[in-house]
Symmetry: C2
Subunit: 364 residues, 2 copies
């Protein structure tokens, strides 16, 4: 499944991109006056192989949740139980991601790929049968690969088979959401301690020094930050992960939600559907997706620049410019949701704006 998905990912359609550029020149606005929105709409035309590309509606957020053995190293002040408690909050609609999703009309799917603690009972939110995108009711998918990763400071976080299972879960979720009608996928994540594996992935895939790839996550103090950098540095030295083997990198120093997000991105790219990236967890997973399939980058839209320094390292490596830069460091998919109207607006221009000819407006 992973191999067939990778094989299905193709380069963008240059002809659709040329059509979008040409159309931009005829619309009633000075050439280039929409700045980054113009190039974004051109990229999305190339991805869709059509000009205009489809409006990215409806949108679906997929929040992958997992826990981390490296929590034992004291890399975060938050108790591990919060991962599972926040799943309860997502399903009850009380988190920031829910507020932003309601505003954007996006559905929320929460996927347990590896939460350590027993999840709160959520019978009403459990679903079976065909997937329905319903912005008013968050949906839960039980797809646990194992109850949290092993401690990457001590051993490989995952076996290759576990990493593959998580990636394939992400691909399956992409398939289900797109089959259900989603025209854009938004990445979300939840996992206490998950900025540590994200930093290790970013350092492994980009070659950045762990000091530059590691940030303060939800707000750690100086001693904790120093410990976090040391853990990342030691893990890279111990496992010596190589970007040529992305599954091996994910297994050695990744997390289950990181691996699943890489799969989600690959699944979206294989179906020529855009995937709007959230913060540092998302872009660390995007590096893995790009290592599996370089052309997957053409399906990625960088939603925002996380306050985590590693996010900027990763975005630079991917060649992506983020749409929003407001110092967010929450995760959950919140930054991607804030950026969604910008993406929709960029595409809408190609659908709805009059040309100089049709509107009877003179050109310069």
């Amino acid at each position: 499944m992973l191999e067939t998905t990778i094989a299905a990912i193709r380069p963008p359609d240059e002809s659709a991109m040329a059509s979008a550029r040409e159309l931009h020149g005829r619309l009633t606005k000075p050439a280039g006056s929409l700045g980054a929105l113009e190039e974004l709409s051109v990229r999305l035309a190339g991805l869709a192989g059509a000009c205009p590309p489809p409006l990215p509606e409806p949108a679906a957020v997929a929040i992958f949740a997992g826990d981390h053995g490296v929590h034992a190293q004291g890399v975060t002040p938050w108790p591990q139980e919060v991962t599972g408690q926040m799943i309860g909050n997502f399903l009850a609609g009380g988190a920031v991601v829910n507020a932003f999703a309601r505003q954007a009309g996006a559905s929320v799917t929460v996927v347990d790929v590896g939460v350590a603690t027993p999840l709160p009972a959520q019978p009403a939110a459990e679903t079976s049968g065909p997937v329905v995108l319903d912005p008013s009711t968050p949906r839960m998918v039980a797809a646990s690969v194992r109850r949290g990763t092993r401690d990457l400071a001590v051993t490989a976080a995952l076996t290759r088979d576990e990493a593959r299972a998580a990636v394939q879960t992400g691909i399956r979720i992409a398939d289900e959401l797109i089959e259900a009608g989603a025209a854009i996928l938004l990445t979300g994540d939840m996992g206490i301690g998950n900025t540590t594996p994200a930093a290790a992935l970013i350092a492994a895939f980009t070659g950045a020094d762990p000091l530059d790839a590691t940030g303060r996550g939800t707000g750690v103090d100086d001693p904790t930050y120093a410990r976090k950098v040391a853990v990342v540095r030691a893990a890279l030295a111990r496992h010596a992960p190589t970007p040529a083997d992305p599954l091996g990198v994910l297994a050695a120093v990744g997390g289950l939600e990181h691996a699943a997000l890489a799969g989600l991105i690959l699944g979206a790219a294989a179906r020529r559907t855009p995937v709007l990236l959230d913060g540092v967890i998302a872009v660390s997973a995007a590096l893995a997706a790009a290592a599996f399939a370089p052309d997957a980058v053409s399906a990625m839209v960088a939603g925002h620049r996380s306050a985590e320094p590693g996010a900027t390292v990763a975005l630079r490596h991917l060649g992506l410019d983020p749409l929003i830069d407001l110092g967010l460091r929450l995760g959950e998919g919140t930054g991607a949701l804030l950026a969604l109207p910008v993406v929709t607006g960029a595409v809408r221009v190609l659908h709805e704006v009059a040309t100089f000819d049709s509107a009877g407006v003179a050109e310069k």
Copy 2:
């Protein structure tokens, strides 16, 4: 009317701001993790004098249109007729501002404060009677002060009475839109050549050198740009406008849409209603509003950073950080509309997100 409006503008409510900061600390997210959105929501609580402040819905865009005598100096390659032609495009729903307003559910009001050419017949769009905010039908208001300004390179662009009439038109439009239910006003503008008076206003109010305050607008070539800077420099030398007399500055080197936008901002501030600023025309008008009433700044939200360098000079002077920075230089209100979901999201968090206590989530 101008004086009573200025007198009604008060400082923000510190108690409501403190309540918003305190509430942010109890919501289910790491403290500070929403970055600039947190401080934005605190500012809006201070403006409203309530925590949470009202959601900024519905939103109303007011596009003020005018022409400019300085067009005769060759400061733009676009014919002056385009101002009136674009009004036709706005009323037909074919411009970028219309596409973005439809997406955001915002109404569009086009106000002729000084278009030089006869406007296209738009009987269906003309309205009388009470103002209704209808996102599906742009509305036209005829409020021409004169058919374009005089050439600021030769004489004062406006008399003081004309400038005052335009400012008061802006105040009246703010009053009408807020009475009709608008919870946030968005600034829009249309006027071929209007980045030249904007640059002159920015230089006059901030003391910036005309070279730093002047940009390439819709995309002028090197000789035109040099001419534009020279025109601004000569106008400042000729008229010697002083920020202590904002009406005098607007009259000497402003435009009718700039003056009306200053009035819109003052009117919104007097009614403690936020006003979301678009690009360089808006922020040049915001400088005038702040010169009339320094506390008006607390009603201003900077929607985006225009590609025009003068916009950054003005924002710095006002102490405002923009929400979006995507190289836009279109005007019309497009940058403000792109930022609107960010503002709404910032406020929505205070309304809808669960607290640690209520959600049963542990703290660090």
